[in-house]
Symmetry: C2
Subunit: 212 residues, 2 copies
DNA sequence: AGACTCGTTGACTGACGAGTCAATCTGACT
DNA sequence: AGTCAGATTGACTCGTCAGTCAACGAGTCT
């Protein structure tokens, strides 16, 4: 299975994966043909089946590949001792938002075709998604232990809200409900953390309302 | 088109819609056949096409029907002058969560199948989804005006986070990542509002941490 | 009774598209 | 030059399934 890609030769497997990202994002997984992917990759139809067992396997591969990168990134962020909980969450939000900024098509495919459809194929995806919640929950749990975060909201529940807010944000960009500009991406990072950590309500004491 | 359903006769159109909810939820929109829906409804295959133009139209109908109910409910909640912003949001969260409690299959279909489809078929769905954000944003906007909510988070952004958290909650139940019991439903209503309005962080002054 | 309308039936069709496979190519190694 | 392994090709197969349609049934009106 392409164990030794000849030097100089283009990695056709990668080519197919990248083409699939474009096609899946444009037409949707169910509304595209395998031949569309092959055409986009500039490759013969049959070659797709040389590298992958099925159309679904391509989607699986795209998801698992990218999701693992995210899981590792979250774990790495959590490991930085000097960061306050809120800063850790900011880093996490930043990583996910930057992922969308740099690879909007891939993130669209993952969110629209995989995250929302997790019941149709194997339990593997659900396990991976749960893992992401778990890693975020660990950050929250540490914050609860050191007294920064409230006791009465469980870490798992908090993680769910936090991730949900971010995913909805990406959905907004994906479906053109929100302006997807560089400035908006940056602003959103801070705002989503402020909304979830600080809350929408004005604190009883500090944080005077900024006019304008 | 079934303008005068004869009295005593079962409304076959409704029967088909209800069967579609069950089948779409169980097998997924793309992994079921129209004949599955007909069988579930106990009706001949062709009758489905007597009432609907296509398989997709059934999905459309299910979404639009239910979504409009939700939009109306949110508007109605916003109209209750005596409610504080946080209480209004609690009512909204409660309504959506209760929708899931009473019709989990329908809500599953709407969340799992429609959002995915939102890019493939018409912009109508997106418009409706945007409308929901808008109605929630109105609640937040009023709260910002009267000084209850922060100025530096826009109402639209706040609405997105709020709705995102709720949708993620439903996803958790849908995909069995969370226990879906009566008590959890009730607890979740309060928690999601507390998380979003009050934030995860302990307020500088009040709200002493509850032990246990 | 006869004619008309509308609900209902389910066998059939036609297109579509995932996956197969035998043939061909390419470069490496002897 | 000859052999071999793996990459690459694309025409073909074959099941599936959305959508059609001609016929039938059950009320209603005259």
């Amino acid at each position: 299975m392409a164990a030794t890609p000849r030097q100089g030769a283009v990695d056709k497997r990668r080519l197919i994966l990248d083409a699939a990202i474009v096609v899946f994002a444009r037409q949707g997984f169910h509304h595209c043909r395998v031949s569309d992917v092959a055409d986009e990759a500039g490759v013969a139809y049959g070659l797709v089946y040389h590298y992958f067992d099925s159309k679904e396997e391509i989607l699986n591969e795209l998801f698992l590949e990218r999701w693992q990168i995210m899981l590792d990134a979250i774990a790495e962020i959590d490991r930085r001792e000097q960061l306050a909980p809120r800063e850790k969450l900011y880093q996490v939000a930043g990583f996910i938002i930057d992922s969308y900024r740099h690879e909007p098509d891939l993130m669209k495919v993952i969110i629209v075709e995989v995250t929302r459809a997790a019941n149709s194929f194997g339990r593997l995806h659900l396990e991976k998604i749960r893992e992401a919640y778990g890693r975020i929950a660990e950050i929250v749990e540490a914050a609860r232990r050191d007294g920064t975060f409230k006791q009465d909201i469980s870490a798992e529940f908090a993680a769910l809200c936090f991730y949900g807010a971010i995913e909805q944000l990406l959905s907004g960009w994906i479906f053109d409900l929100l302006p997807a500009t560089e400035e908006e991406f940056e602003r959103a990072k801070g705002l989503v953390v402020e909304a979830i950590c600080g809350g929408l309500e004005v604190s009883p004491t500090g944080t005077p309302a900024v006019s304008g």
